[in-house]
Symmetry: C2
Subunit: 193 residues, 2 copies
DNA sequence: CTCTTTCTTGAATATACGTTCAAGATACGC
DNA sequence: GCGTATCTTGAACGTATATTCAAGAAAGAG
């Protein structure tokens, strides 16, 4: 008997960043061996192939993002300000330099969804889980009386998610802090008023 | 003397669709020769290389989209309903089947922007031209008294564009007509009210 | 300590890709 | 109708790629 030597989460985060930097197709196995520190044989042993590594990386990404989101809603204040903090943090993320700013899920969706049903299904499931988590926050805000119960929380969740998709794409065209913040503020206002 | 035999626009539209289907990296020269009907030598003679073909296709895409947009605003009715028609047509486009629904500009931006400054610059310029065209329509609506002059037309243009980015991404995750239309309606209402 | 199982290593393999180029075909000028 | 300039053709080239595999290293069992 003998256990694997590498740290799976560490490896997957490295692969995540490689895929976010160059996209799936342009990221070569050589890039991946350099990024992860693993040799080709080890990658193929642990993840079958390049595609399997992407699937595992997508899964890790979703886990990381889920715990990150939960962090914003673990406190005791009003849900709506937690939501605003969350949105503002996304604006901040879009403005980081030297780090891939795009969301791995939407990036992979745009690149490969139409060519691989399984990957498409996985990404869609992950994004829709995220959307549901946000929808639940709107429902909670309604239950707390912070938001009119007249509104459809599912619709608010969808519109909020759509806005974040748009914000991230917009940030790729002109990453100006003041403008992105203004767009985020408007989005939040339209959703919560 | 002898003139080229192929129709440049026809070839570029074929290349456009090929790139929209598979993305830049995954579209092979073999795909492109099949799609365009041109032999490798002809492509390299006319466009230098695969990258040059993409640049030319991006240019053609922008031209096609510009004339398409102008068509929505050539009539005499209120600008705001023309804008609504334009937005609705995008919803319709997202729901087409068998045809690539994504915007070539944003798709290419997501795939290659971080790796090629010239392509990034071209895409950014094209998208910002589109944004400006829409901003001009908001200004026109204000001049016509259809829209409060209190509002910042540049901001409205940006928010509208952001919404369309988001709508297109959302459509890739769940292309349900009623939901997309509801999102578009909300976007239009938030922008115009 | 030794054996055996499992993991690691990285060179080797086959394939697919972007690109080139020399030969052949075609249209225009004279 | 001929000559020439230009375009077209598609096979050939070198490279880069994803993947495999057999040899070597390491860890646990007895």
């Amino acid at each position: 008997m003998r256990n694997a030597e590498f740290d799976r989460e560490h490896v997957l985060r490295a692969a995540m960043h490689a895929f976010m930097n160059k996209g799936y197709a342009k990221t070569s196995m050589q890039d991946l061996t350099k990024a992860t520190g693993l040799h080709p044989g080890s990658i193929y042993c642990a993840f079958d192939n390049k595609r399997g590594l992407l699937l595992a990386a997508l899964d890790q990404y979703q886990q990381d993002r889920t715990t990150e989101l939960q962090g914003f809603f673990s406190g005791k204040g009003p849900v709506l300000s937690q939501l605003k903090n969350y949105l503002d943090s996304i604006v901040g993320e879009c403005l980081l330099t030297g780090v891939p700013q795009a969301c791995l899920l939407t990036k992979a969706l745009s690149e490969i969804a139409s060519q691989d049903e399984e990957i498409q299904a996985m990404i869609t499931a992950n994004l829709s889980g995220w959307q549901q988590a946000l929808t639940d926050k709107f429902s909670l805000a309604q239950a707390n009386g912070e938001l009119s119960s007249q509104r459809d929380s599912a619709h608010l969740g969808r519109f909020f998610v759509m806005g974040i998709y748009g914000l991230r794409t917009f940030a790729q065209t002109s990453p100006e802090p003041a403008i992105l913040q203004q767009l985020a503020d408007q989005l939040f206002q339209d959703v919560c008023a």
